[in-house]
């Protein structure tokens, strides 16, 4: 029976409860909804879905599944029981394996099957087979073991050519190996020669030193890089000082794949592991050795970090309001622009980049498409929120964001590193550029927070101390809890931990109360903790005679903004020091303030008197401000005749020019020189126009940018909503009666399964194919491979290979072979 049909039957027989658990664990199965169990089984067997399901498995589950995959054969229906698996897994017990097998079955990754015909099954054990597509998903090195000699002979023509001679040489040199005449026989001979740990032990007893350590490097992964892998190595011409690689290659214990790589064949790998597929099996996750940090330190670090992050984001927004951030033509923000921001925030480049990314991913900055600059959206709600909610906004946006801010400044792997090798500088990732996009970032973040919470709970001690968690500890746990996903972690985990520290989720190296609340999805709890501990904003400053104003704490934003206009900020930390100088006062005067308004402002907001030197400075600068004035005017009229000028100002005919007398002999006009001259000529005067009309400056109007919406964080990959599950169940149960005809989705999967099975068994299939004109033909061909929506087939009748699109195939059946 087809595996999909078998699975379909099994799913149908399950209770509703069991199906609900399945949907919760693999939400992609019912999104979108499926019409019947056949379709459900087809989807559960689809490669992508299996891949996703595998990502959720932990190390022991993965080990059992891989062993199961190696011990079974879906084509022949050779199944395996827990007892069978136990033999292949060192350190496993039936009691430990059975729950895992149950889970895997619940997840529809394996299903019950009949025991193989050769097995006597008195204990009525359960036997299992994996889903069909597991083979493709698990890859060519299940459990890190290489392929068998026979497979290598089939797939590596160079090895196939050499293997007969290799075996002959071994035979000649006295090894206990059968002589062979064909590559397949030679492969079998090698397989038998290396098949038990004792045999291998015997072979290796004559190996040169360093051979064992070299082989151990292949212990967890069968392929390795070796220079000149295809070198000539022969047992017969071996010197006394032969190297371990030559020695192994000469005996076929390593098989060259290409010029730079070798593979450890499966039988050798298995013997090295003492005959078991898995040599260390444990249900307990590794517990890292961790330092500890006190609750007070953690809270101090978290609160400090949060206050600092919020202040920096606020300052960044201020800087952006003053001058939008220019983007590079290639996208992203260049280093020079970043440097400018870093100067105005008074922090380093990398921290600036992080703050910038954080602001942008939180929607506090938007790319204005017309001007290609990053601007702050008008009427930003964030600015008006209390600080704890501002924080939650950032955290939610961060959790949900597909950007990886910490990648900014790192160099790109791939071609860029090649450039670095060749001497030219590699291109670092720019802030806000597409290179820092990582679609799986939300998922990884969530997992990391979960792991942090897990490790913290495990190591929690009664005195409130928490473990210091570093990237290594997190990675180690990730390797264990989701080995298939951990590779995605490795490039992000450090950055994520750093960002979590910035946001106060981690502090002093440990998960904080806030971090724990966020990890367990209790934002309200986090808010209340924060509200309690975050100091209130101050709305006064202390003015001092050394021309500084000190804000003793977090300054209310509107006040801070006004102060920034009349003084320059100094220093870095919870308190801000503002220094008044001639330049800063002048800046305020330029912005339209006068001495009195500045002094009144300072008087209202200062807890102390305005010191005399500051008063003097402000008045002194104000009194001299504007001795020279700069303004623009489209044109001016100059005449040595003061009387004529005076007359012109009063002339009603010139009223349209908007004349202003700025000096006894100079008038400005609000019209262009040409227009001014025309009006003057109309009045009977004869002006001389000195200049050509200046270019008209058109100010580009930027389209209004929509305000950032408060981000709502939805934890990625949560179970599907209950309603959907119930609806799906109802649909499935309704269709129970009318099953038989496979739905479209199931049919495709079934067809693919048939094709793949035929490819593996090299069987012919009969297909109904629609051609370009819409006519359908029935053909009998041997499929060779399936990929990318196409199938390559060998047409025995025409003795040619062809490629067919899968969507043109209406149905596939194994060909009925006339001779059998």
């Amino acid at each position: 029976m087809s595996l999909i049909r078998a699975l379909s039957k099994e799913l149908e027989a399950r209770s509703d409860e069991s199906l609900r658990a399945l949907f919760a664990a693999r939400p992609d199965l019912i999104s979108p909804a499926v019409p019947d169990f056949a379709a459900l089984a087809a989807r559960a067997s689809a490669r992508v879905s299996v891949q996703r399901a595998l990502e959720r498995l932990n190390k022991p589950q993965m080990q059992v599944l891989e062993t199961l995959h190696l011990c079974t054969n879906t084509d022949t229906g050779h199944s395996v029981s827990a007892a069978g698996l136990k033999k292949c897994i060192n350190g496993a017990t039936i009691a430990a394996l059975e729950p895992i097998l149950n889970t895997l079955q619940e997840l529809a990754l394996i299903h019950r099957a009949d025991p193989p015909a050769t097995v006597h099954n008195p204990g009525r054990q359960h036997f299992y087979l994996p889903v069909g597509s597991l083979k493709d998903v698990i890859g060519i090195y299940p459990a890190g073991l290489g392929r068998s000699y026979t497979e290598l002979v089939r797939l590596q023509p160079a090895f196939a050519q050499r293997v007969v001679q290799l075996v002959a040489e071994l035979h000649q040199s006295g090894a206990n190996i059968m002589a062979a005449t064909t590559p397949m026989d030679a492969a079998l001979a090698l397989q038998r020669w290396t098949s038990t740990p004792e045999n291998l032990q015997h072979i290796l007893s004559e190996a040169p030193a360093r051979t064992r350590p070299l082989l151990n490097k292949f212990g967890s992964w069968a392929m390795g890089a070796v220079p000149q892998a295809q070198r000539k190595a022969s047992v017969l011409h071996e010197g006394r000082d032969v190297g371990p690689v030559d020695w192994l290659l000469a005996r076929g214990l390593l098989v060259p794949l290409d010029a730079g790589h070798v593979e450890l064949p499966r039988s050798v790998g298995l013997s090295l592991r003492g005959g078991a597929i898995v040599d260390h099996f444990t249900l307990k996750p590794p517990v890292p050795e961790l330092g500890q940090t006190s609750a007070a330190l953690r809270r101090n670090a978290a609160m400090g970090a949060i206050a600092e992050a919020l202040r920096l984001v606020g300052e960044l927004l201020y800087a952006v309001r003053e001058q939008p951030i220019v983007t590079l033509r290639s996208g992203g923000v260049g280093v020079r622009e970043l440097k400018r921001l870093a100067d105005s925030l008074r922090v380093g480049l990398s921290e600036t980049a992080l703050i910038l990314e954080l602001s942008a991913l939180s929607g506090l900055l938007r790319l204005d498409v017309d001007s290609s600059t990053w601007v702050q959206p008008p009427s930003l709600e964030w600015l008006t929120l209390p600080r704890q909610e501002q924080w939650l906004w950032l955290v939610n946006a961060w959790l949900a964001s597909e950007r990886a801010p910490s990648l900014v400044g790192q160099t790109l792997p791939g071609p860029a590193t090649a450039a670095a090798r060749s001497g030219s500088s590699a291109n670092p990732i720019n802030a806000l550029s597409a290179e820092a996009q990582r679609p799986d970032a939300p998922l990884v973040r969530k997992r990391i927070l979960e792991i942090l919470e897990e490790l913290t709970l495990e190591a929690e001690s009664p005195d409130g101390k928490a473990p210091v968690l570093n990237a290594e500890a997190v990675m180690e746990r990730a390797e264990w809890s989701q080995p298939r996903m951990s590779r995605r972690f490795s490039s992000l985990v450090r950055g994520i931990l750093h960002e979590a520290e910035l946001l106060g989720l981690m502090g002093s190296g440990a998960l904080t109360q806030l971090g724990s609340a966020i990890a367990t999805e209790q934002p309200e709890l986090a808010l209340s903790i924060l509200g309690e501990h975050l100091p209130a904003a101050v709305n006064h400053v202390l003015l001092q005679a050394d021309l500084t104003a000190v804000a003793p704490g977090y300054l209310a934003p509107e006040l801070s903004e006004k102060l920034l206009l009349i003084a320059d900020p100094e220093g870095q930390g919870p308190a801000t020091i503002f220094r008044f100088s001639g330049d800063s006062i002048r800046r305020a005067l330029d912005a339209g303030q006068d001495a009195e308004s500045i002094l009144t402002f300072l008087r209202t907001h200062s807890a102390t008197d305005v010191p005399q030197p500051l008063r003097y400075l402000i008045k002194d600068i104000a009194s001299r401000h504007g001795r020279l004035r700069v303004a623009s005017s489209p044109s001016f009229i100059q005449s040595d005749d003061e009387a004529a000028i005076a007359e012109l100002v009063r002339e009603p005919g010139a009223a349209s020019l908007g004349l202003v007398r700025i000096a006894p002999t100079v008038l400005t006009s609000s019209a262009s020189p040409r227009e001014t001259a025309r009006v003057l000529r109309e009045l009977g005067l004869s002006p001389a126009v000195q200049e050509a009309e200046s270019a008209v400056v058109r100010y580009k109007r930027t389209a209004p940018v929509s305000g950032g919406l408060r981000p709502v964080y939805m934890a990625p990959r949560t179970a599907p909503p209950d309603d959907d599950v119930e609806a799906q169940l109802a649909v499935l149960r309704q269709h129970r009666a009318v099953h038989g005809e496979a739905s479209g989705e199931a049919a495709t999967q079934l067809g693919l399964e048939t094709l793949q099975r035929a490819i593996r068994l090299k069987q012919a299939v009969t297909m109904n194919v629609v051609d370009g004109m819409g006519n359908s033909n029935t053909e009998t061909v041997v499929p060779v491979s399936v990929s990318g929506g196409r199938v390559r087939v060998f047409d025995a009748a025409k003795d040619t290979e062809r490629v067919l699109s899968i969507h043109r195939i209406i149905d596939v059946e194994p060909a009925v072979e006339p001779h059998k």
């Binding site: 330190l297 101090n300 670090a301 400090g304 202390l542 050394d546 000190v550 919870p574």
Partner: protein, 547 residues
């Protein structure tokens, strides 16, 4: 969150809110490891430097205590990165130790092998070290103790000096406390110094640094060498020691250009020690040729370079540095600390003033407008002449006359940089002028007359900046400053800070030409005082009240 008086900034500064009720407590707690940087009226700022943290370690404070202090008194969460930084910095101290080995003499030991390996490979350090005894010990040439310590400090691996001090020749010295007592801060400064072995005491002008020196001598009771800036100061030290201690005339020697006496207590000038003849310093022998138990450096901020070098070789003797203004325009404060020793006591000027030990001072910057012709001359002058032109403006001379008239009857100093200007003012005011070429005898006579009140007004050049004790001077007018020197300005104000008999406040005028270099330099000069809490009032010349 606690409501402490400190705000710890992530840029390694600590703000102290002065009006907070715990402010004094917190100040004492952080003074041990943080440097006071600015002390304006409401919020003082301290800075955490590696040197300060290492000094704290040297004084027996560990990182945990420092962190605990910060966390206890801080109003807001302390930036975590800062805490880590403090811990790391402090852990660098003491991995190398200088010790006396009974067999090998001075040795450097380590608890951390790679550190020793690292420093002994440093190019500058290698020649100072002798043979390696074992993996963790290396012989140090004893004459290189100071230089080695200094270089290690620069490398960031300060050595803990456990080699101790030589005792010196004992010589009984006692304080002669009849009718006066050491003030509490003087006592504390002396105790801190003695406990630490060597170091610098920073006290404002007029706060009685000489007495701290005398008390240190009394505690030490050994032969003592005192290094001072000039002969007049040497005489003042001698007078003060005769008055305050059991020392007699015969026990105190002067070693200067004119007299060369070596007695149990010898007072030498920097100048005579640094006199060079034929490429040699003939008088340096005074310092290392005798078994001094204590060496006092007066006005340590003026320590000239040869004395720096010489001091590096004197690490086995106790050293006390005294100063009011440890700012060096050459930025060598760090060297003072590493060679003489860490700061053992420091108090903001305003603190001492509040306790009534120095006179309150009112600083006024008077801005004068240059007349039109001078402005033109200024505008067209070469850069090299610009400052002189604006600093010596005619208008200033008139203003000085006006101010002198205003303060009729008070003891008044006119201080300036340019001799021509001073001569002219002296002539106009009919007052004596003391400048570089005035002989010591004449200077002494004039200062005595001024102290006695026979002369009301003195015009002085920068020769009177330091160490000149003029208790009754209550008004000073600075007509021109020496460019942007912060410590000169402070020292000039310092001349006025001796407490007055009638408790009057001192008045310090600084005349500044508006819109010129003079104004820029004045702002620079005033920074030290402003940071010590001396706020300058600024007024226009026309607003000066009529006499």
């Amino acid at each position: 969150m606690s409501d402490g008086p400190l705000i710890v900034q992530s840029d390694k500064t600590i703000l102290l809110e002065v009006d907070h009720e715990l402010a004094t407590e917190a100040r004492h707690a952080i003074a041990a490891f943080a440097e006071l940087e600015r002390a304006p009226e409401h919020v003082h700022s301290y800075r955490l430097t590696p040197l300060g943290l290492w000094n704290a370690r040297a004084a027996g404070l560990d990182a945990e205590k420092v962190l605990d202090t910060l966390l206890r008194y801080s109003r807001f969460p302390v930036p975590h990165s800062l805490l880590i930084d403090i811990e790391e910095t402090m852990s660098r101290y003491g991995r190398l130790r200088l010790e006396k080995d009974p067999q090998h003499g001075l040795v450097m030991r380590t608890t951390d092998y790679p550190v020793l390996e690292e420093v002994s490979r440093a190019k500058k350090i290698a020649p100072l070290l002798g043979p390696r005894i074992d993996g963790e010990t290396v012989v140090v040439h004893s004459s290189q103790r100071g230089q080695l310590k200094q270089l290690l400090l620069k490398l960031g691996w300060p050595a803990e000096d456990l080699a101790g001090y030589v005792d010196g020749t004992p010589h009984l010295i006692a304080l002669n406390e009849d009718g006066w007592h050491l003030r509490p801060y003087q006592k504390l400064a002396t105790e801190n110094f003695w406990a630490g072995g060597s170091g610098v005491v920073v006290l404002p002008c007029g706060a009685g640094k000489t007495l701290v020196g005398a008390a240190a001598m009394a505690t030490s009771s050994t032969t003592t060498l005192i290094l001072v800036t000039n002969t007049v100061a040497a005489r003042q030290w001698k007078d003060e020691l005769l008055k305050r201690t059991s020392l007699t005339e015969g026990e105190i020697g002067e070693y200067s250009g004119s007299v060369k006496e070596v007695r149990p207590v010898t007072i030498a000038t920097y100048q005579v020690l640094t006199t060079k003849r034929g490429g040699l310093y003939p008088h340096l022998e005074l310092v290392d040729g005798h078994d001094w138990g204590l060496i006092i450096y007066d006005e340590v901020h003026l320590l000239p370079a040869p004395i720096f070098r010489m001091t590096a070789d004197l690490q086995a003797r106790r050293r006390l540095g005294l100063t009011a203004t440890l700012v060096r325009e050459d930025g060598r404060e760090g060297e003072v600390f590493s060679l003489i020793g860490p700061k053992r006591y420091d108090a903001p000027w305003k603190d001492i003033e509040a306790q009534g030990y120095i006179a309150p001072a009112d600083c006024v910057e008077v801005r004068v407008d240059l007349p039109r012709d001078e402005r033109m001359a200024y505008a067209m002058a070469d850069d090299a002449d610009k400052y002189r032109l604006c600093a010596t403006s005619e208008t200033k001379t008139h203003l000085v006359e006006h101010l002198v008239a205003l303060h009729q009857g008070e003891q008044l100093l006119v201080i300036g940089q340019y001799i021509d200007q001073l001569d002219e003012i002296g002539e106009r005011l009919d007052a004596p002028v003391i400048k570089g070429d005035t002989t010591v005898a004449v200077r002494q006579k004039l200062f005595d007359a001024f102290r006695a009140g026979d002369i009301k007004t003195l015009v002085v050049s920068k020769v009177a900046n330091f160490s000149i004790d003029l208790p009754e001077a209550s008004v000073a007018i600075q007509v021109s400053g020496s460019f942007g020197s912060r410590q000169e300005e402070a020292q000039r104000l310092g001349r006025l800070l001796r407490p007055k008999q009638d408790g009057r406040a001192a008045r310090f005028y600084s005349l500044v030409a508006r819109d010129t270099l003079d104004q820029d330099f004045a702002a620079k000069r005033q920074r030290f005082l402003a940071e010590q809490g001396y706020a300058y009032r600024i007024m226009d010349a026309k607003d000066v009240p009529a006499g």
